[in-house]
Amino acid sequence: MAVGMSERGSLHSGLGEWVVQRLTAVYMLFFIVIALIRLSISPVSTHADWLLLSSGLLFQITLLLFIFSLLAHAWLGLKSVFLDYVHPWRLRFLLLMVVALLMFATGVWALLIVIT
């Protein structure tokens, strides 16, 4: 089988993107609801509250997963908007590359913030 081909053929990557768009959406919804419940039970009003919350490993991992989900979701969403409305291929390619770069950079930025 050629490189980049799956059993379903190389033109079926859209199915995977469809799944990723929905899984990330569901994860983000759960994260936001649970975060709101946690914040309403014990609000973060002082720096000590924030330190207690933000130093927990569970919080750090779920927050990073949230941010990565957000970036992946945003990337796929913007991609379908561009594919629908931007027809000149050079401009479309340029836009997609710029957005991909920005998403990647934002992900690295968030990672550095959370782990340091």
Binding site: A25, H47, A74, L78, T106, A110, I113
Partner: protein
């Protein structure tokens, strides 16, 4: 080949002022527009996270930003857009599961999403501004 030539000659009607979209169609556009707006808020929120994580000074700076007028305007706009996007997103997920394929039900769920969105705007608006 003959078919392709014919396809190019199809009548095209794209007068945006005269096209009457079904309610679900309007909601679909709203989902896209709110999605693009939310992308713009991402860097601001990561910046906020950075402030929160940079010691006592940064933390109080972040709180001051959130309580100031620009912060409140930004926060309420983002929350409203996020709620609208989430509600129409949940409707999309419902449709993926086969709920509301029926035209009349689809119209009702679209209207419900608009009504719920408006209600949540009022609730969160009160929470942020009062």
């Amino acid at each position: 080949m003959a078919n392709m030539k014919k396809a190019g000659l199809r009548p095209v009607f794209l007068n945006l002022l005269q096209i009457r979209l079904p309610h679900g169609g309007v909601l679909s556009i709203v989902h896209r527009v709110t999605g693009v707006l939310l992308v713009l808020a991402i860097p601001l929120f990561i910046y906020l996270l950075q402030l929160l994580n940079s010691g006592t000074d940064g933390f109080s700076q972040a709180l001051a930003l959130l309580h100031g007028l620009p912060g409140r305007i930004f926060l309420s706009l983002t929350v409203w857009v996020l709620i609208q996007h989430s509600l129409s997103g949940i409707r999309h997920l419902m449709m993926d599961m086969g709920i509301s394929y029926d035209k009349n039900i689809a119209r009702k769920t679209a209207d419900t999403v608009f009504a719920l969105g408006l209600l949540m705007v009022i609730v969160t608006g009160v929470a942020i501004w009062l």
